[in-house]
Symmetry: C4
Subunit: 207 residues, 4 copies
Amino acid sequence: MTMGFDDAARALVEIGRRFDARGWAPATSGNYSVRLDDGSFAVTRSGRHKGRLQPEDILRVGADGIVIGTGRSSAETALHLSLYGLFPGAHAVLHGHSARTVGFSRAVTASEWRFTGHEMLKAFPGIGTHDAEVRLPIVDNSQDMSVIDDAVAPSLGAADVAPAYLIRGHGLYAWGADLDEAERVMEATEWLIECELAEAAFRKGLA
Amino acid sequence: MTMGFDDAARALVEIGRRFDARGWAPATSGNYSVRLDDGSFAVTRSGRHKGRLQPEDILRVGADGIVIGTGRSSAETALHLSLYGLFPGAHAVLHGHSARTVGFSRAVTASEWRFTGHEMLKAFPGIGTHDAEVRLPIVDNSQDMSVIDDAVAPSLGAADVAPAYLIRGHGLYAWGADLDEAERVMEATEWLIECELAEAAFRKGLA
Amino acid sequence: MTMGFDDAARALVEIGRRFDARGWAPATSGNYSVRLDDGSFAVTRSGRHKGRLQPEDILRVGADGIVIGTGRSSAETALHLSLYGLFPGAHAVLHGHSARTVGFSRAVTASEWRFTGHEMLKAFPGIGTHDAEVRLPIVDNSQDMSVIDDAVAPSLGAADVAPAYLIRGHGLYAWGADLDEAERVMEATEWLIECELAEAAFRKGLA
Amino acid sequence: MTMGFDDAARALVEIGRRFDARGWAPATSGNYSVRLDDGSFAVTRSGRHKGRLQPEDILRVGADGIVIGTGRSSAETALHLSLYGLFPGAHAVLHGHSARTVGFSRAVTASEWRFTGHEMLKAFPGIGTHDAEVRLPIVDNSQDMSVIDDAVAPSLGAADVAPAYLIRGHGLYAWGADLDEAERVMEATEWLIECELAEAAFRKGLA
């Protein structure tokens, strides 16, 4: 399931192009990583537009978070590494967001959102029916990655918690056993939030 | 009107690309099929991202629902085959959905929605005027395909019922005499639901 | 300013691709025409998906509305020809629509909408300031093109009326001295309606 | 950081294509410029569709606003030059807008909008935390560029003011040390406004 650096770099460039096309990578925001076959990580460089990444915008980072070579990796590299530490089966971590999802994170004051009754829940690993409830943790933003990490880590890993979390006013993290799975979790979570808003709009509008 | 397997496979790959571009194929959701000239069916493989299908992601399935060759066809293959059984003239079945349409299906508690007065109704076969009413059946979701099938089948086939139905919290099925017609029904139904929401929003907003 | 048939056919194929990308050509809806240098017209064939037109889907039609050659031109050819008759300077007529705009046409009960104070008004020929009011006629739908034509024709041509009209529950017509101008009027009118809805949503949401 | 004319022309053609794809360049609206290495400016020609610019649609303009060569530069060239005069470090100015943002500018009656608590604020130069407030000036529209300029200039340049402003009912200006930065400010500002609307919609819808 692990990848070498060159394959990972190519795949992350393509993820950036897709996320930008969906509106999930505005203004150089977002960052993506892959756990490599040698235990190091491929991580996007800081400050580049994700829709126009080049392979040289993907850096190799050690388990200690230090770039192997030159360049500055994403300011949020620590959050990626923390997730890889918590979940040995995770091989890809993606961070991006629509304006809708960040607006949602600001409108919701609770520390999680519960999705229920959606066929789309089956996009999350281990969920085999729509007749389920999946929780999405929501934590407050901080410029200190360890504060975010400390706040969110206790919420993660339970069977009914999505492999994803929202940082309020900031964006969405999603991960998976490989890039395809991480992207599927990302797409499903963004879609579920869009669906909740559409449902609310129809309830108000059709009333 | 029938197609051979290779033509069907190419056409379904292209349908996936188009649906993904429209946001109707998030997170590997959706499944598509064509009735082939030899009485078997081309059906999308389970679990692939529909925006990036390859011809080898299209499987041949017998009328008994069993894959001819290797691979697992979509979990919803039975719903496709049931529609082909009910409608001998149907040669293509498409399942996909926007978040908007699934939100709509959750907001509406009735077992159908009635579209009236839209020029777009003429996209449905047999409807020649906007001055008509077309019904879209809405049934509850189940992980047992036969439960969905038993619930929806009695609603289908009347002259004023669209060749389409909604599974609540799940998505939209549409079919036609060929792929172009099935896609036209799909586009028309998605568009009509978007139009109802826009109408409601303007009524509230401009009031 | 006039075009030959081959250039017009290529240009209309491209218009279809653009309108489809914008969501203005769902389910084979829409039709487009150009007044040719010999006094005949290039008109889209009936029933084709506008996002995937081929040059052979553009037909030559005489001033009498009869196809020169084979094939059936758009069912709305008469509306195009009527506009060319009313406006000798018009060389292109476009018909398409977003779901939003048709929802708008159903929410508004009046026979016109007045846009005021938009810089975008300057996209309409003859308007040189945002400090203006431009009227967009809205008429009821009919399957008899002459009924629509009789209803809308008296509203057209005044200096403060857009070179465009809405058929309620159906869609938007726009025209211009050439294809670029007709497309500009189309884009401006769709944009203005979207802007009105956004303004209303912010007024409600930010209140 | 400065560019020659040919590089600037190529880059502005590409900006037009991107803005059009995002819906920020409807109906020939928008205009873009770059400060060149010889002190003159590359400015988009008036009246062209920004999604289909050609290099010959980019003109060279002197510091006095007069085109060097032939052609008419954008009617808003004076606003670009005024910004370059106010901000010697600015090398690119972009003007475009979504319908949403212009609707927002009409719904807000105040002379500025304050964004607070968004991680996205860090897209603005000099802002290093979400725990900040950034002000976006909003001024009334005029056909006299000097009236707009006189109204907005006093609001610009403070540390908590975005390098961007909104003209009410007209559109958004954004600038930066280079084209990438100007585009980043544009994307961030459009995104923030979309996010505010989504937040408001969720607050109303989920209540």
